[in-house]
C-alpha cells in the first residue's frame, strides 16, 4: 500500500483504529481550547456581578461621586457617556452610512475603491491612543473646540466610522441585484432606486451596525481622556462645549488614580459599563439573527 501512496500527503491506510482515537484526542483538545476562551468571559462577568452587585443600587446609579470619589455614585459618568455616544453617533452615522452606500452602490472595482478599502482597514487598526493624539491636534487645538464633549465625540466618531461603513456595506450587499434592475427598468434613477428600494430593504441591517458603533463608543477610554472627559466634575454638562465625566474614564480613575476607594465602587462601575456594552451588543446580535430568519428573499 505505502508505495502507491507516494504522491499523497498522507498514508492511504488512514482510517485505522489508532488514527480514529488520535482524532478523538484532537477534537477534545480543540474543544478544550474553545472552552478555555468562554471561561474568562463567564468568570469575568460572574466575578463582576458577585462583587459589584451588592454595591449597585438606585442611589449608586443616580447620585454623584462624593468624598473625593470614595463614596457616592456614578450618575454624572452615565450622563457623560450618553452625551459622548449620542453626539458621536450623530456625526458617524450619516457619514458612515453614506460611505457604505458609495462603496456598495456607486464604486466600481477600481484601484480607487481598493485604496478606500485599505484606508478603512487602516482606520480600524490605528491604535486608540493615536486617535487621541489626532483628536488633540485636530479638534481640541486646530479647530479650537477645546477639551469638550464635541471634541471627544468627534474623535470617537472618526474611530468608530469603520464599524458603520463595514456593516452598512454588508447590509446593502444583501439586497439582491434583481431588485435594483427591476427598478432601473421602470425608469428610476440610481438615487431613486437606492432611496425607494435598496434602503428600505436594508435599513434594519444598517441599524445593527449603528447599534454596534454605540457599544464601541461607550467602552472607549483613551480617545476621550485628553479630548473632553474629565476625572471629576461637580456639575452635569449643559452643552457640547462643556467637559463631561464618562463611565469608562470613571472606572480608570477609581481603579488607578484615587487611593483608598472602597472595593465595591470600581466593581460596580465596571459592572454597569460591561452591562451597558454587552447589553447593547447582544441586542444588536439578536436583532441581526431575527432579521436573517425573517428575510423575505
Amino acid at each position: 500500500m505505502s508505495e502507491q501512496s507516494a504522491g499523497l500527503p498522507f498514508k492511504t491506510s488512514a482510517v485505522t483504529a489508532a488514527n480514529r482515537s488520535r482524532e478523538h484526542v484532537l477534537v477534545a483538545v480543540l474543544g478544550m481550547a474553545t472552552a478555555l476562551l468562554i471561561l474568562p468571559l463567564l468568570a469575568i462577568i460572574g466575578l463582576l456581578v458577585v462583587k459589584g452587585f451588592p454595591a449597585l443600587s438606585l442611589e449608586f446609579l443616580f447620585s454623584a461621586p462624593a468624598a473625593g470619589m470614595t463614596a457616592g455614585g456614578i450618575f454624572p459618568a452615565i450622563i457623560g457617556t450618553l452625551w459622548l455616544v449620542g453626539v458621536s453617533l450623530l456625526v458617524a452615522a450619516p457619514i458612515g452610512v453614506l460611505a457604505g452606500i458609495y462603496l456598495n452602490e456607486y464604486a466600481g472595482d477600481t484601484w480607487v475603491t481598493r485604496i478606500i478599502h485599505l484606508a478603512i482597514v487602516n482606520l480600524a487598526g490605528v491604535p486608540s491612543i493615536v486617535h487621541a493624539l489626532f483628536g488633540v491636534g485636530a479638534f481640541v487645538l486646530f479647530l479650537g473646540l477645546g477639551t469638550s464633549i464635541l471634541a471627544a465625540s468627534l474623535t470617537l466618531a472618526v474611530m468608530t466610522l469603520p464599524v458603520i461603513i463595514a456593516s452598512t456595506k454588508e447590509a446593502l450587499a444583501s439586497v439582491p441585484m434583481p431588485f435594483r434592475r427591476a427598478c432601473w427598468v421602470l425608469g428610476a434613477t440610481r438615487w431613486q432606486t437606492i432611496r425607494y428600494v435598496v434602503l428600505p430593504n436594508s435599513i434594519s441591517g444598517i441599524l445593527t451596525g449603528v447599534i454596534l458603533q454605540v457599544s464601541r463608543a461607550a467602552g472607549e477610554t483613551a480617545p476621550i481622556m485628553f479630548t473632553g472627559a474629565a476625572f471629576y466634575l461637580p456639575f452635569l454638562p449643559q452643552s457640547v462645549w462643556d467637559q463631561c465625566m464618562a463611565l469608562s474614564m470613571h472606572l480608570f480613575t477609581v481603579s488607578t488614580q484615587v487611593p483608598n476607594v472602597p472595593e465595591p465602587i470600581p466593581y460596580a462601575t465596571a459592572l454597569v459599563l460591561l452591562g451597558l456594552v454587552l447589553g447593547v451588543n447582544l441586542a444588536s446580535i439578536i436583532f441581526r439573527s431575527y432579521l436573517r430568519s425573517h428575510r423575505k428573499w
Binding site: 474553545t34 482606520l123 487598526g125 425608469g187 434613477t189 440610481r190 472607549e220 480608570f252 481603579s255
Partner: protein, 306 residues
C-alpha cells in the same frame, strides 16, 4: 452590473432624475472618500503636532536605539524609546504565545467540528468577548490577575509583563478566532471532500489540506491580533506597571509605547519637546500598525483572489 443595466440606468437618469440628485450623489461620493481623508488627516495632524521637534531636535538614532527615556530630567533630557519598544514587543510576544494557539485552535474547532446552534452560540460568545471594553480588561488585570500572579509566582509587584501579556492575549483571541474562522470557511468544501474520500481522517485533512489552503488567511488573523495587541492602550497602561526598562523576566514591570503617551500626555506643557516627543511616538505607532494592517489585508486579499 452588466452593460445593459448600466445603459438602462443612464437612460432613466435623463428622464426622471430630480434636480437634487447630482447634489446627493456628490455628498455620497465625498463621504465615500472620508476614510482616506481621515487616515491622511490622522497622520498629518499627529506628525505636524510634533514636527518642530521631529525635524529639528530629534536624534533619530537616539530615538530608536537608546533605552534612556528621561523626558522630564532638568539637566539631561533623553528621548530614547528602545525600552518602550521592547516593552511593547515583550508584552505582545507573550500575548501571542497565548492567543495564537488558543485562537487558531478555537477557529478550527468552530469552523470544522461544530455546526448549527453550537456554532452560532460559539460565534456569539467570541463576538461578546471582543466587545469587552479595554478599561474593563485593565481593571481585571489590576483587581484579579494581579493578586493571582502574586500568589502563584511570588512576584514582588503584580503589574508586569506576565499580567499585561495574559490580558492582551485574551483581548486578541476574538479577532484571531473570527478572521481565522473566515479563512477556513473560504476553503472550498471540495477540498475537504476530496481529502476525506482519499481516506484521510479529519485531523489529517485539517492539518495537511486545510491549513496549507488557508495559510495566508490564518497568517492575516495572527497579524491582526498582533496589530490589536501593539495598539492597545488603557489595558496595558493599567496592567503592566510603570517602569521604563528592558525587562529581564516576565515578572518585570514594563512600559509600552502606547501606555507612555497615555500616562504622560496630560502632564506635559503643550508644545514642549516632551509633548512633541509623545507625538513622535504616535507617528512611530501609526507607522507600525499601518505596516501590520497593510500586510494582513494583502494576505487576506491574496486568498480571496485564489
Amino acid at each position: 452590473m452588466n452593460r445593459l443595466s448600466k445603459r438602462v440606468a443612464a437612460n432613466a437618469r435623463t428622464r426622471s432624475g430630480t434636480a437634487l440628485e447630482p447634489v446627493i450623489e456628490w455628498i455620497i461620493r465625498v463621504c465615500g472618500f472620508s476614510a482616506i481623508f481621515f487616515v491622511f488627516a490622522i497622520f498629518l495632524f499627529v506628525f505636524t503636532s510634533g514636527a518642530d521637534f521631529i525635524l529639528h531636535r530629534l536624534d533619530a538614532g537616539e530615538f530608536l536605539l537608546s533605552t534612556e527615556w528621561y523626558p522630564s530630567s532638568i539637566a539631561n533630557k533623553r528621548y530614547g524609546t528602545l525600552a518602550l519598544f521592547v516593552g511593547t514587543v515583550s508584552v505582545t510576544a507573550l500575548a501571542m504565545l497565548i492567543a495564537v494557539p488558543f485562537g487558531l485552535g478555537a477557529a478550527v474547532f468552530i469552523s470544522e467540528f461544530t455546526s448549527g446552534k453550537l456554532k452560532e452560540s460559539l460565534k456569539i460568545v467570541v463576538e461578546l468577548l471582543a466587545a469587552i471594553p479595554s478599561v474593563v480588561w485593565g481593571f481585571i488585570g489590576i483587581a484579579i490577575m494581579n493578586p493571582l500572579i502574586i500568589i502563584l509566582f511570588g512576584a514582588p509587584i503584580g503589574l508586569n509583563v506576565l499580567n499585561g501579556g495574559i490580558i492582551l492575549g485574551l483581548m486578541s483571541v476574538p479577532i484571531i478566532v473570527s478572521i481565522g474562522e473566515d479563512a477556513l470557511k473560504a476553503v472550498p468544501d471540495s477540498y475537504r471532500e476530496a481529502s476525506l474520500a482519499l481516506g484521510a481522517t479529519r485531523w489529517q485533512s485539517t492539518y495537511k489540506v486545510l491549513f496549507p489552503a488557508a495559510r495566508s488567511g490564518l497568517l492575516a488573523a495572527v497579524l491582526l491580533g498582533v496589530g490589536r495587541a501593539v495598539g492597545e492602550t488603557i489595558a496595558v497602561l493599567m496592567a503592566t506597571g510603570h517602569a521604563v526598562q528592558i525587562p529581564h523576566s516576565v515578572l518585570d514591570s514594563v512600559r509600552t509605547l502606547t501606555a507612555t503617551i497615555a500616562a504622560e500626555l496630560g502632564e506635559t506643557a503643550r508644545g514642549s519637546d516632551h509633548y512633541q516627543a509623545l507625538f513622535a511616538i504616535g507617528v512611530l505607532l501609526f507607522a507600525l500598525t499601518f505596516v501590520v494592517n497593510l500586510t494582513a489585508d494583502l494576505l487576506v486579499r491574496g486568498t480571496r483572489d485564489e
